[in-house]
């Protein structure tokens, strides 16, 4: 437990000791700011029944952040350690492979959540200037963040896995970006298939991240995507663990 905590703290500190963390947060804040401008323009036009979180979700910047940030956050985790050789000094201390994988995942997830906090600021600004308190429902805000965190778990575990497979940060980032974009595009593939009753369409329907996240932003909690995201996260973390252990049998 001590090793896990020490490692998590160290990994988290690393984002802030180098410029990477600040650059990521700045870029994300910039994109959230863009979304915020779009959102305000929409609010100025006709009246709408959509909650603010949904309005925010349907701006194109949302998925841009969700897809681009995790690869950049995770690319360094294992690849850099392997490249610089510190992986060897790490694995010869009495820590288990599982502790290392979980610590790195936790640190990346915490950073990811911190990175989204400017969104909360934007929402609070809207709340401050609207006369109607119903415009901002705490429940909808909660489910939006739940959705963001769950999708974050999935993409970050995927990024961990990509990073554990290679020594190059660039390759790790491209690999995880490619995989997460493919996963994201499955939603559109499901829509394109003729006849929603065919089994292919139904199977793909389970992976329609766009629809699922839309529900979260609307304030709907569906357990099916939750189970999907959490089990996929566990699966990718398991693969990461295998990749870390691979030095033993390669």
């Amino acid at each position: 437990m001590q090793a896990y905590r020490t490692l998590t703290r160290r990994e988290l500190a690393r984002y802030f000791l180098t410029s990477t963390g600040y650059i990521i947060i700045a870029a994300v804040t910039f994109l959230i700011g863009f979304s915020f401008v779009v959102l305000l323009l929409k609010l100025q036009q006709d009246s709408t029944l959509m909650p603010v979180t949904e309005l925010f979700y349907i701006t194109p910047f949302f998925w841009l952040i969700l897809l681009l940030a995790p690869p950049v956050i995770t690319m360094r985790l294992f690849a850099l350690e392997k490249f610089s050789g510190t992986f060897e000094t790490l694995m010869t201390t009495p820590v288990s492979d599982l502790q290392v994988v979980l610590a790195k995942f936790t640190a990346a997830l915490i950073f990811y959540v911190v990175m989204w906090l400017p969104l909360l600021g934007c929402v609070l600004i809207v709340r401050h200037y609207t006369s109607d308190p119903a415009a901002l429902d705490a429940g909808a805000l909660g489910t939006t963040f739940l959705g963001i965190v769950l999708l974050g778990c999935l993409f970050i575990s995927l990024g961990c896995c990509a990073s554990a497979l290679t020594r190059s940060q660039g390759v790790a980032a491209m690999l995880s970006l490619m995989l997460s974009v493919s996963l994201f595009l499955l939603s559109f593939l499901a829509k394109e298939l003729p006849g929603t009753s065919s089994w292919q369409a139904q199977a793909l329907g389970f992976f329609s991240l766009v629809e699922q996240m839309h529900d979260f932003a609307r304030g709907i909690i569906d357990t099916r995507p939750m189970v999907l995201y959490l089990s996929l996260t566990a699966f990718f973390l398991f693969l990461t663990l295998r990749a870390v252990e691979s030095r033993r049998w390669k």
Binding site: Q2, A3, T6, L7, R10, R14, L17, T18, S84, G85, T86, E88, T89, L90, M91, T92, T93, P94, V95, S96, R247, R248, K250
Partner: protein, 322 residues
């Protein structure tokens, strides 16, 4: 358990896809010894050390450290060792004190212990004055000492140092060497190097590896004895070159000779005896018989370098012949 064996390696083999890095080696190291693992690049030194440090498992054979199996009791073994890999990788974005504390915590020391041990090893390695500097901004010599301090921070019974002086300038090498020598007694140390004088100066015993096998092992004197059946004598003699060549060729006791000009009329003859004979009396009597001036006559003591070349050469000769 003060006495006894620290490292027991038995029939260790490590195969990577396509080639064998370490093939069927066995050796032991006693507590408190400083042992040098010598060999050219690619001899399997680093692989052996990685297996000892529990980073890689061997393909077959057993390795025990302080009586514990490195594969089955890996956690216990890792608590007892300090390992510094080749090229000494460090977290360059951290400060020295912070890094040592982080490493101590990873190695299972309590918060208080890690602070105390951090201060002790910084003192021991002479890096107290840079404790607040960022590691990435330190010179290579200092970084090397930070690596050593890291290896020492958990008071390991066994220190495994892979090429600890590589890339340092002579003064830095001397100070690192001094530091390692100072560790003898309290710690068992296994050092790998391909720099011979280093091993000769710091180690009690040497294990010479070549192409994944152990070619020779023992103390410097033991290794000398290993070479004694090929004694060599150097003689500086003033005589016509043709006479010298003819004389050596006719002497039955001389297996091989090499004559090269020295200053003035003198020639330097390197004579190798058959069956480990001492050639000095023979050379002296020959010189007296023929009226040559003899100004030097020495039996060469083999340096570690000769031994090293000797044990790592058989394969090269084969290659040349092929």
């Amino acid at each position: 358990m003060r006495n006894g064996l620290m490292i027991q390696v038995a029939n260790l083999t490590k195969r990577y896809a396509g080639h064998t890095a370490v093939s069927n080696i066995s050796f032991t190291v006693e507590r408190g010894e400083i042992v040098g693992l010598l060999g050219p690049n690619g001899a399997g030194k680093s692989t052996t050390m990685r297996i000892l440090a529990c980073f890689l498992p061997g393909t077959s054979g057993t390795v025990r450290i302080a009586g514990l199996d490195v594969f089955h009791q890996s956690d216990e073994v890792r608590r007892r060792i300090g390992y510094m890999p080749e090229n000494n990788p460090l977290h360059l974005d951290m400060r020295v004190r912070e890094y040592l504390k982080f490493r101590a915590r990873l190695k299972g020391l309590s918060r208080k212990q890690s602070r105390g041990r951090g201060d002790i090893v910084m003192e021991q390695c002479g890096i107290t004055d840079v404790s607040r500097r960022i590691i990435g901004q330190l010179s290579k010599g200092y970084r090397q000492r930070v690596g050593l301090a890291d290896a020492l921070v958990n008071e390991p019974e066994l220190l495994i140092l892979d090429e600890p002086t590589i890339g340092l300038d002579p003064n830095q090498i001397r100070s690192v060497r001094q530091l390692i020598k100072g560790l003898a007694g309290n710690h068992t140390v296994l050092i790998s190097t391909h720099i011979l004088p280093e091993a000769e100066m710091t180690c009690n015993r040497m294990v010479i590896m070549y192409e994944g096998r152990i070619m020779a092992a023992g103390t410097s004197e033991n290794l000398q004895r290993l070479m004694s059946n090929t004694n060599q004598v150097i003689a500086e003699i003033a005589a016509p070159l043709a006479d010298l060549n003819e004389c050596w060729a006719q002497t039955a006791e001389i297996q091989q000779f090499d004559v090269s000009p020295a200053e003035g009329e003198y020639f330097r003859c390197a004579l190798t005896a058959r069956n480990g004979l001492d050639l000095r009396p023979i050379v002296y009597s020959l010189a007296r018989e023929r009226g040559w001036y003899l100004r030097e006559l020495t039996l060469t003591r083999y340096s570690l370098e000769d031994i090293y070349v000797h044990v790592t050469r058989p394969d090269e000769e084969k290659e040349e012949g092929a």
